[in-house]
């Protein structure tokens, strides 16, 4: 196509209309192509894996003494084959009475650091900012805004079981 013919086409109204149509066609085609790739990719990224809450056995009833708070480790609800040690999770478990247990998330409600149980002081203490919780999980001092999160516990047969839950996020 010579320069003259380009010039001619631009001047004719049908040429202008045709160009406008072709520009829009290109933009629409490109947008659709982009969208049909982007939608499933973004949806995959945003779609969070929901896992069922399941009861995990953390020990035999007789393993736990009344009044003592111990760390129990168990598998998170639905570990992936490549999760390795990160599939493990922990809770602080106390046998209150013969038939009653209480379980706390190890995550400090301030910023999620793992709290430690001080058996002689009867307190949970967080190593990050010094948040302290009483034995019943309520805040004793420091920055935590809420009591420690509790996990449901049950006794099934002779087993003590904890209901796995998502990481508690303080909002």
């Amino acid at each position: 196509m010579s320069e003259d013919s380009i010039h001619d086409a631009e001047n004719s109204s049908s040429g202008t209309d045709r160009r406008r149509f072709l520009s829009r066609l290109s933009i629409v085609a490109g947008s659709i192509a982009g969208a049909i790739v982007a939608i499933p990719s973004v949806a995959f990224l945003l779609g969070l894996r929901k896992v069922p809450h399941v009861w995990r056995t953390v020990g035999k009833l007789d393993d736990f003494q009344i009044g003592s708070t111990v760390k129990v480790a168990f598998l998170d609800p639905s570990p992936l084959p490549w999760s390795g040690v990160t599939a493990r999770t922990a809770a602080w478990l106390r046998r209150e009475t013969a038939q009653q247990f209480i379980a706390f998330s190890v995550d400090c409600t301030h910023l999620g650091c793992p709290v430690r149980w001080l058996p002689d002081a009867n307190l949970f203490m967080c190593p990050c900012h010094g948040g302290v919780f009483y034995a019943n999980g309520t805040v004793a001092s420091g920055p935590p805004p809420k009591p420690l999160t509790r996990y449901p516990v049950r006794i099934q047969g002779g087993d003590v079981q904890i209901l796995t839950s998502p990481l508690p996020i303080t909002t």
């Binding site: 894996r49 490549w82 040690v85 001080l118 009867n122």
Partner: protein
Amino acid sequence: MRIVEFVWKWFDEVTGVSGWLIPLAKHPVPHARRSAWFYVLGSATLLVFIVQIVTGIALASAYVPSAGQAYHTLAFISDTRFGHIVRGIHSFGASAMIILIGIHAIRVYLFGAYKYPRQMGWLTGVALLFLVLGMAFTGQLLRWDQTGFWSVVIAAEQAGRTPFIGNWLGHFILAGDTAGGATLSRFFALHVFFIPALIFFFIGFHLYLVVRNGISEPPKMGQPVDPKTYRRWYQDLLHREGVPFWPDAAWRDAVFALIVIGIIVGLAVVVGPPALGKPPDPSILQASPRPEWYFLWYYAVLSLIPRWSENYVIIVGPAILIVVLVLLPLVAPKGERSPFKRPWAFGLVAVIVFMIAYYGTVGHVAPWSPRMDAPPLPVEVIGTANGPIADGAKVFRDKGCEFCHKISGYGGIRGPDLTYAGDQMTPEQMETRIYSGAPNMPSYNGNITQQQVSDLLAFLSSRRRRPATPLPLTSEAK
């Protein structure tokens, strides 16, 4: 040699490379004279980024981004002779990038080089600054040791403070309900593909702008930028006294980059990479996660602000920083560039550098963190091995007091130093405090026996500069 010349001529004829590469290399830049060495910081940041790409590719060729295996692959890499060095280079390179991009930003700010027509140069630089911080955070996390694991949890908790979408955002960071198998891959993709792609884009744009608008000339007092006349004036300046970028200016970039890279590699060889912590097992609760040095100042600020303001500062603080940096070239696009005519610019930089250094030091000490690994008070400090004072010292330890209160150099610094508590408080005052607690001290009401309190008071009252009754150290006591 003939064949080389022949191939080059053929290559150039079919590609036209020399037609743009040679003018680009030799494009005129202002003669910077005594300020010339201030202009090497941007190129050094870029060259260290290239070092990060090279060492990053080397590391990625052995790293397995799997939550169960990443830690072991890092141990494997660190155990090989050159893997050890490459990890060291990547780690010190990360620190160097943060330092260099920070000084580069300060230089551009002090020289007023963000003013017309270089506003977009500043804005793309701000984007690069935050992307580099993103690389630093995701990178230390890929170490996937205990600290790496807990830093994801803490990041999710911080994101959780966002209004309305906090809970979703926190779990989005974790890639699910808990930190586990899906989490690490997400950060690997961010660190290796997503953020670097954005960095490539912004570096390309940044460099294009440097060439299009020309590198800023060293500022002179009494020579304000006027957008109406600046471009013409700048072209005249180049015409009058410009020098070709290559090699008149570029040699300094090359020499400085060699020094920087030499220091990075030297440190990698001599000091080596950061040690791997414990494995990322969430059921190991003996963990005290701390941020890397470049985030310590922010950690300190978040730890020291009043508690009620925390939710706002976590979210609004970084947002304000971004807004200020973005608005700077938009609200001040013209006028004086010389820092000597903008003395508050010096003041602001001094305040920022001082704050980062000061809070970084405070964050390193982390006085708010209990010292849960503090060794028990030795009998030399207690002064006796039995009796109420010794029993009280045991209570002091068992009740966790020592984790927050220092005595004779042992223990934490979250609460007041109690080395001379006996001089400072009466037993009644101590007893009140033990039972009532304080905002940062738990109340021991119901958690301590009468006997324990009386022993504890005996011990604390014996903490004096001059003991009322000298306590001779017998050999049994030791």
